[in-house]
């Protein structure tokens, strides 16, 4: 506002343009903005800091610490997590591995897993529906894969898709560590948009009972559309999408609400391992093609 008024005033004082510029320059050279005016912006600064403190914390934990540790150790974040789990968790005990994971993520570094609180929602859904075939988009470190696998009935199968090679290696180790074999969990290391159309041919999937999305938020919508096109979704298929509010997938939500193919519920929660940032999981129930 001040700048605007200033220029406005300067403009009006002396009409020729060159004079305006010169006047502006000389003035700003002559005196900087007075300290009192700068001090008046202090409340604004404080407000912003206090209001968005959780985001600053997130920035610090998810970006700065990661960067520093990457430089110091030469390992990736996921590998560090695996090392920690290897030394602290009981092999073969899924719960212990999950707890160790939560502990590492909340105290040491930050990895955006589904987290314990939202995980409970996931657990409840699994208990309610007892899916036989589960598709997981975005394995990352295998946290959610372990979480799903431990509450699945015998004979159920998870297809877990991960794009990144290194992450997939870590995830596989963790899954094996938790005691789930290849019959239970099938890890597919390819981009999701390539895998989904070929699920039926290559992997013999007829119908998906549960789809869990936790990969790139930008890919939620195209992947959902691919799934719709592939015909793998049947009536009553649950699609669970994490982080729809933060970082957020607005286009996905908009599509889902408008298409009329789904019954939508958004579970409100906070972002995993950090208090104060609102987040949500979208639970879609496929109603079948009309």
């Amino acid at each position: 506002m001040s700048v605007c008024l200033h220029t406005c005033r300067v403009l009006s004082v002396s009409l020729p343009n060159s004079v305006v510029l010169r006047a502006f320059l000389t003035r700003s050279e002559l005196k900087m903005v007075s300290p009192a005016i700068a001090l008046a912006f202090l409340p604004l600064l404080l407000t912003l800091i206090i209001r968005y403190r959780y985001y600053f914390v997130l920035l610090y934990r998810a970006v700065l610490i990661r960067w520093v540790r990457d430089c110091l150790t030469g390992l990736s974040r996921e590998e560090r997590a695996f090392q920690y789990i290897l030394t602290h968790a009981t092999p073969g005990d899924a719960q212990s591995i999950l707890d160790t994971f939560d502990h590492w993520c909340s105290t040491v570094e930050f990895i955006s897993n589904i987290g314990p609180k939202k995980g409970k929602i996931l657990d409840r859904l699994l208990q309610e529906h007892c899916p036989i075939t589960v598709l997981e988009l975005g394995t990352h470190c295998g946290y959610s894969t372990v979480r799903i696998a431990r509450s699945l009935p015998i004979g159920a199968r998870i297809y877990s898709i991960e794009m990144d090679e290194r992450n997939a290696q870590v995830a596989e180790k963790i899954i094996r560590l938790a005691g789930f074999d290849e019959d239970m969990v099938e890890l597919i290391v390819r981009p999701s948009d390539e895998v989904i159309p070929r699920l039926r041919e290559d992997y013999g999937v007829e119908r998906l009972d549960l789809v869990f999305m936790d990969h790139w938020k930008r890919c939620y919508l195209p992947d959902l559309q691919l799934l719709e096109g592939s015909g793998l979704l049947g009536e009553g298929t649950i699609i669970l999408a994490d982080n729809v509010i933060f970082p957020g997938a607005p286009n996905f939500l908009r599509h889902v609400r408008r298409s009329g193919l789904y019954e939508v519920r958004v579970h409100r929660a906070t972002l995993e391992y950090i208090r104060g940032i609102r987040d949500g999981m979208a639970e879609l129930t496929f109603l079948g093609v009309k």
């Binding site: 506002m1 300067v10 005196k31 001090l39 008046a40 409340p43 407000t47 509010i245 957020g248």
Partner: protein
């Protein structure tokens, strides 16, 4: 609430129309009812039991007829009353009576009359209409039957009463019935034939009814109409589901609509139809006028729209803004009409006096935009400011007393504002009931938490969510209030928050103090040496602090965890303190500036005499005959005129404040909304939900901005008559701009809450600000002598001397004398004392009234509780009795099924019972709703016991054999 009004008016229409001539059109009404019921009966009585039921019905009719035909005796009157009370149920009974009547008439017709066939031909057309109607009525009847079943079962206990009597009644009946037995059998036969040829018989019946209209019947028809009317009138208070209410209302209204026009016969009918039509038109006209009136209220639709989207708290700001606009309109009228226009039209023109001319050294830049924007140059030497006005006592051919008018307008503005604010406050205070809201927390939440003005799904969602969360919170609070270990934390946090806010206030106060001191230093050194930043530092810092500190307070107030309504008040209080601090530092700085100017003025005065002496010394010796040298007014040296300076400061403050508001609006709301909206498609997180999101409308900040703006107007209006005009412009623009901004860039608050009580809070703040802003204005007027060479009071010792001058010169001498006596301290002091006493007296009486009100409220509550207890007891008793009655009834029905005659009698009993049930049911409601009539004797003392709703439903399952056919 116009919607309410509209509905009410519609129902009014139908009612008032009814009241016209019930006698005439009630015929039609009943006729249709009858015929329809007949039809219904026919359908329902096709089973084997039909005959017996018919018999029973006929006999029942007889019984009730006998009761009614006892003429003008008390019983009939009582029934009338009851009927009026329980219109619904009575309508049913009435129908029965009519059926009975119908049967009688049929007999009569069958036996003798064939003359009425002519009439029949005439009427067949209308009857066809009625046939259509019938279908509707059938549905209606089904519902009614259900209803009656309920009622009947509720009245079951009274069967006892009836059972005590029945023997006598039966005997009576037998005696009276003897001559009619033949007709009964005829009726039976007829009912058989009816099933064969439905339509014909219907016609017959209807014609029969029409033909044999006795005055007694007319009476009954009248009753029916009255019942209908009553029903419509009392529909609101009935304990029925809304759906049913709507259906009934629509039915009755439709009925009236359809048949009211075709009433009476021949000429009278036409006249009546015409009347009704005119009445309707008149009603419609009135409604249109009402709508027009609401449409005439400025911005009403806009505000309603906002209210529907954002809840009433945001709307309350806009209503406040509109109210403010109204007040400023009056202020503007006063200053513009009585000061500015007369001066511009009749005062001396520009350039005639030194005070009305731009001085020579400023002439070059006087028309520059920057100078005009600062209200210097030509703007300063115009009617807009105090200094331009001349001290000439009367101007123009009207002899307009300019200085007096100026003074009185200045005083009048303040007086009027006081009056309006206090009046509004008093009016609002009346609306508030002094009640304790804490006693039924959950009930309040359940029944009153919805904001019915919301019309937007998103806001409704928010409201829904906020209600559920508030319930959760309330439950948690209730749980934790017993633990109360968390309370200490809350208290600590609240204290901490207040401490932080105080720190913040102190910091901002110091910053402003620092800036003001610095600006004084600049002023002493000469402002021309400094840049724009330095000159406008005070304003800048003030507006920036006023903008940012509330945000900080808002963040801090999340610590406190108050209910949003209370949080809003705290927030308002804090911002109030901040703004007040800012305003008063500004005023103090201004006072200092005034002192400086006055010192300068003294110097100028001295120089002036020297200048004049020089002028005359230089010119006089040359040419003594020539008139004194005329100097161009622009060249005359002049004083600094502190009044104009004050006015200018205020105008500048208002302008910068307005600009800040608008620019914040554009950048903070609009630009942000645009960025969020369009960047959201290509950003790595959800901007709408996440970090910047859309802004919420800041009610507290806006309200306070408005209030303080008004305070500045009140302060500065005396020295700058243009201020109300500027403010009017500002309010007008901000009304449109903010309405637009709210609708286009803001989102509803996450916790929508009702702002019902906050209006008076605004008013109280406005009053405080009014007082605080008149203080400095009055101080300057009373204690500082006006400038010697500018303004309407120049040359006087004090500004209020103008009153004395007027008294001396314009009024007869005796008036001045009286005035001087009246202003004698010996008179004034007792008067003041009296005033204080009166105020004290009034205040204490109002307190007493309040207390009495509270006590009355408490009394009502306790009475209500007592009533509840009583009802409970009565219900228990009734339940016991019911059990007994049930047993007895079962026994009796077992025995009665053998003999048809017996059942008839039991049916009769039930018919009586219905009536009492209706009465009884009504009493239950009245005792629940009208607490004032505590413990109606009829409820407790009467043997017809009250019964609660559950036991009603309990017995409704087909216990009464006769009811299902009614």
């Amino acid at each position: 609430m116009p919607r309410h009004k509209l509905i009410a008016s519609e129902s009014d229409v139908s009612i008032e129309v009814d009241e016209g001539k019930d006698n005439e059109f009630s015929l039609y009404y009943v006729e249709v009812e009858e015929s329809s019921k007949k039809g219904k009966e026919k359908q329902t009585t096709r089973d084997g039991r039909r005959r017996r039921d018919k018999n029973g019905e006929v006999s029942r009719r007889r019984a009730s007829e006998r009761r009614t035909t006892e003429g003008g005796n008390k019983r009939a009157e009582k029934k009338h009353e009851r009927r009026q009370k329980t219109a619904r149920k009575e309508g049913e009974k009435h129908g029965k009576r009519q059926r009975r009547k119908n049967a009688d008439e049929e007999e009569a017709e069958e036996e003798s009359n064939k003359e009425k066939k002519n009439i029949k031909n005439e009427r067949t057309k209308t009857l066809k209409l009625e046939d259509e109607k019938e279908k509707d009525v059938k549905k209606k009847r089904k519902k009614r039957v259900k209803n009656e079943e309920d009622d009947g079962s509720s009245g079951k206990t009274k069967q006892k009463d009836c059972h005590a009597m029945p023997m006598k009644e039966k005997e009576k009946k037998k005696k009276r019935k003897k001559p009619e037995t033949t007709s009964e059998s005829e009726c039976k036969s007829e009912s058989e034939s009816e099933s064969d040829s439905d339509s014909e018989s219907k016609d017959n019946q209807a014609v029969g009814v029409l033909g044999s209209l006795t005055p007694e019947e007319l009476e009954k028809l009248k009753e029916a109409v009255e019942e209908r009317k009553k029903l419509i009138a009392t529909l609101k208070g009935k304990p029925w589901p809304m759906k049913k209410k709507l259906v009934i209302l629509r039915e009755s209204q439709e009925f009236v609509e359809k048949y009211e026009g075709a009433l009476g016969k021949g000429k009278g009918r036409k006249l009546y139809a015409y009347k009704v039509m005119m009445m309707k038109k008149w009603m419609k006209f009135q409604r249109d006028i009402e709508n027009f009136k609401t449409a005439c209220i400025p911005w009403e639709m806009k505000i309603k729209e906002i209210e529907s989207h954002f809840g009433s708290s945001v709307a309350s700001y806009f209503i406040f803004l509109r109210w403010m606009y109204g007040i400023n309109m009056i202020l503007f009228g006063l200053t513009f009409g009585l000061v500015m226009v007369p001066e511009a039209l009749m005062g001396k023109p520009y350039g005639s006096l030194p005070r009305k001319t731009v001085p020579r050294e400023e002439e070059a830049s006087a028309m520059n935009f920057a100078v005009l924007w600062d209200f210097g140059g030509y703007a300063r030497y115009s009617v807009l400011f105090y200094g331009y006005y001349n001290n000439q006592r009367a101007i123009g051919w009207l002899k307009f007393r300019m200085p007096l008018s100026y003074f009185l307008v200045g005083v009048g503005i303040v007086a009027y504002s006081y009056m309006v604010v206090i009046r509004t406050m008093a009016r609002n205070a009346n609306e508030e009931g002094g009640g304790d809201d804490t006693s039924f927390n959950f009930s309040w939440k359940t029944f009153t938490s919805w904001d019915y003005l919301i019309g937007n799904p998103e806001t409704a969602d928010n409201k829904f969510a906020s209600i559920t969360t508030s319930f959760k919170e309330a439950i948690v609070e209730e749980q934790e209030s017993r633990k109360d270990d968390n309370i200490h934390l809350t208290r600590f946090l609240r204290v901490l928050a207040n401490f932080l806010v105080l720190c913040c206030l102190a910091g901002s106060g110091y910053l402003i103090y620092f800036v003001v001191r610095r600006s004084q230093k600049f002023a002493l050194a000469g402002l021309e040496n400094y840049g724009w930043w330095e000159r406008n530092e005070v304003n800048m810092v003030m507006s920036l602090l006023g903008m940012f500190c509330p945000m900080l307070f808002d963040v801090i107030s999340t610590l406190e965890n108050y209910h949003p309504r209370i949080a809003l008040q705290w927030q308002l209080g804090r911002i109030f303190a901040l703004f007040l601090g800012n305003l008063y530092t500004f005023i103090i700085a201004l006072m200092d500036a005034i002192q400086l100017k006055r010192v300068e003025e003294d110097i100028v005065k001295k120089n002036m005499t020297i200048w004049q002496a020089n002028l005359y010394n230089g010119t006089v010796p040359d040419n003594s005959t020539a008139p004194p040298v005329t100097v161009h007014p622009a060249d005359v040296p002049r004083g600094p005129c502190w009044e104009t300076m004050v006015g200018q400061e205020f105008v500048r403050l208002i302008i910068s404040d307005t600009m800040t508001t608008y620019i914040t609006l554009l950048i903070g709301d609009f630009l942000r909304a645009v960025l969020v909206r369009f960047l959201n498609n290509c950003w790595c997180w959800d901007l709408e939900y996440g970090f910047p999101s859309y802004s919420e409308f800041d009610v507290s900040g806006n309200v306070l901005g408005l209030i303080f703006n008004q305070g500045m107007i009140w302060m500065g209006a005396f020295y700058a008559p243009c201020l109300p005009a500027l403010n009017l412009l500002r309010l007008h623009v901000s009304m449109y701009l903010q309405c637009w901004a709210v609708m286009c860039c803001n989102v509803p608050q996450e916790r929508v809450f009702k702002a019902s009580g906050s209006n008076n809070f605004y008013m109280a703040m406005l009053l405080v600000i009014l007082f605080l802003s008149t203080l400095p204005a009055i101080y300057t007027i009373v204690s500082i002598p006006p400038s010697f060479d500018c303004g309407p009071f120049s040359g006087k010792n004090r500004m209020f001397d103008v009153i004395q001058e007027t008294l001396e010169t314009d009024f007869p001498p005796w008036f001045g004398k009286v005035f001087s006596y009246a202003s004698n301290p010996g008179l004034v002091l007792p008067f003041l004392l009296l005033l204080v006493l009166a105020i004290y007296y009034l205040q204490s009486t109002s307190k007493t009234y309040k207390r009495v009100n509270m006590e009355l409220k408490k009394k009502l509550q306790t009475q209500n509780e007592e009533n509840k207890k009583k009802n409970k007891l009565a219900a228990l008793k009734a339940a016991n009795e019911l059990e007994q009655a049930k047993k007895a009834g079962e026994q009796r029905s077992n025995s009665a099924s053998d003999l048809g005659v017996n059942e008839e009698s039991s049916n009769i009993d039930e018919a009586g019972e219905h009536r009492q049930a209706g009465q009884n049911g009504h009493f239950i409601h009245s005792s629940q709703t009208q607490h004032t009539q505590n413990s109606e004797p009829s409820v407790s003392s009467n043997h017809t016991t009250t019964r609660p709703p559950p036991s009603r439903g309990h017995t409704s399952s087909g216990h009464l054999p006769g009811v299902s056919t009614c």
